[in-house]
Symmetry: C2
Subunit: 334 residues, 2 copies
């Protein structure tokens, strides 16, 4: 494990992307998103995901020349086509446009079809709150989760991101609709650990904390059982119908071929209604009420969504960003 | 148990409300929402909730003269004050205004503060889809759920409703952020049944399916553990900051005094981007993909959110709406 300074990691990723025929400003922006994601501690969607992203660029699944373009609009609502371009750049462009719409209309919405994996969804929540707006966005995915009462993986784990701005620490939630990702199952298994709570069914249909048993059955659990299953269906329905794009059941069930997915971006500009100071105070008091809650473990105070991210970000900016040595070699070798 | 025809139940509830000093058109509209909720099988928030609602009207917690009024606006975003009026009528009025805004701007948003319990949240999702729009709404509640990692009930179970219109059967999800409500725990206990999945912690901090143990510990589970806990916090933060209303920690922790709560209503008008036929087809295919999924139990096909509601509604419209005899006597005696 190396600790790489932010600017060095950013430069290395950017140079790698230029070698993959990215135009230099796109290489810089895409590399920045990967670097920020890693710096925030979301290694699974940061550098650890970079080799798979490179493979998808090389296979042509991600079109480095593709740009998101607006194909329909009505007031504060727009429909964009991602032209199978770079997923994180498409998402960033659409949240950027959503923020503009919200500043004009109080609330704005962009639906995006035909795009690629956005990597860390939280990035676009942070983007909204850093602009001072409330941000909500979600994506559909390939079918990777059985609906409640079903055996086949016919719904997606459809990550949902919600951010609320706050001067004393933005509040940002980034959750997938499965209780554990396949990546989390694999890493628990390789460490020989059970899951902290039931994560799915074994092949006999019993709930289990054994990650290997769930990998075998291919039946991970939606969050809240029937509730998260329903929520995943709704997120898919909205993203696909508003964007007129693909729904989960039409997306290739292969991580290396998952493309032409659909996303939604919503921003709300509460400061337009003012007064902002009082809104900040309301948010601060919600955070304080969480911090006052008696913790189950004395040494683990209750945290608000995003609080941990800010701590990790500060540490990684100070000490350098942890990058697995093998991944670092792969990046430098591109 | 009686089976009361829709029109008879509606008339009885409306007459009761008139006796409680409701102006006649408000009595009619409020009674209709209670009747529809019961007809759709959500008895807990239909007639079974009516006696508690009556008590809150009599105590003055619900002000029958209070009307929701707009107190701020900017384009497609508005802030309303419920003036502690009738919760279901305030919510209906705000979703109605949200639909108007979405028809004008493509997307619309109304935040509502200082209102009362909206009874069945799903009502306002059905309202949006019956108008042909996508509807999203949520409410905060009194503190009734410990956040993940905490002992005290300092967050709300904050019901979230999402509806997508579809000619062949609207899709409507209505979920609270707790895995089971206290009402569900009590009814399981009284039937001597365990919960179908873990519903909370016992007093020793172990996950349990025993409803009585959770009632004793007062530690029900959020859906998806840390995930639903975070989602509940975000819903509260948005509702309270945009409406400049009360957050969960400021709401009286007593079902008979729970008032001045905050809500959010969002509607999206995808037909403005057209073509509607193709959007309908996309939604139909998502529903078909769920119906094709192999069920865990041969006799229980996978259902989409709201599918069961449509079946119960049809049955209750045909046979009459089941009303507990004791509740029916109470209604007639008002």
């Amino acid at each position: 494990m190396n600790r790489i300074p932010f600017t060095e990691l950013h430069r290395a990723l950017s140079q790698a992307l230029v070698k993959l025929c990215f135009e230099s400003s796109k290489a810089d922006a895409c590399a920045r998103l990967f670097t920020e994601t890693t710096c925030d501690g979301v290694y699974s969607h940061g550098v650890n995901r970079f080799p798979r992203f490179v493979a998808m660029v090389r296979s042509g699944t991600v079109d480095v020349k593709g740009e998101a373009e607006r194909i329909g609009y009505f007031g504060a609502l727009e429909r964009w086509d991602g032209n199978r371009g770079v997923g994180n750049l498409n998402a960033q462009a659409c949240m950027s446009r959503t923020i503009e719409l919200a500043r004009l209309h109080g609330i704005g919405c962009v639906s995006l079809r035909n795009t690629n994996h956005w990597m860390r969804g939280g990035s676009y929540g942070w983007q909204a709150v850093e602009a001072g707006l409330i941000g909500v966005c979600w994506t559909n995915t390939m079918p990777n989760l059985p609906p409640w009462g079903g055996i086949d993986a016919s719904i997606g784990n459809n990550p949902l991101v919600i951010g609320v701005p706050r001067r004393n620490g933005h509040v940002v939630l980034d959750i997938a609709m499965s209780q554990f990702s396949y990546g989390a199952l694999a890493s628990h298994r390789s460490r020989g650990e059970l899951l902290s709570v039931d994560g799915g069914f074994d092949t006999e249909g019993h709930l289990t904390r054994d990650p290997a048993a769930i990998e075998e059955s291919q039946r991970p659990l939606p969050i809240g059982y029937w509730k998260g299953s329903g929520l995943a269906v709704m997120l898919d329905l909205i993203a696909a119908t508003v964007s007129m794009g693909r729904a989960t059941h039409e997306i290739a069930n292969d991580p290396l071929k998952e493309t032409a997915i659909s996303q939604m971006f919503i921003a709300i500009h509460p400061a337009a209604l003012g007064p902002q100071d009082q809104m900040e105070q309301i948010a601060d008091e919600v955070v304080s009420s969480l911090h006052r809650c008696r913790p189950v473990s004395e040494d683990k105070p209750v945290r608000y969504p995003g609080e941990q991210t800010l701590l990790i970000r500060a540490e990684n900016l100070k000490l350098g960003i942890p990058v697995d040595s093998e991944i670092w070699e792969q990046i430098l070798a591109i």
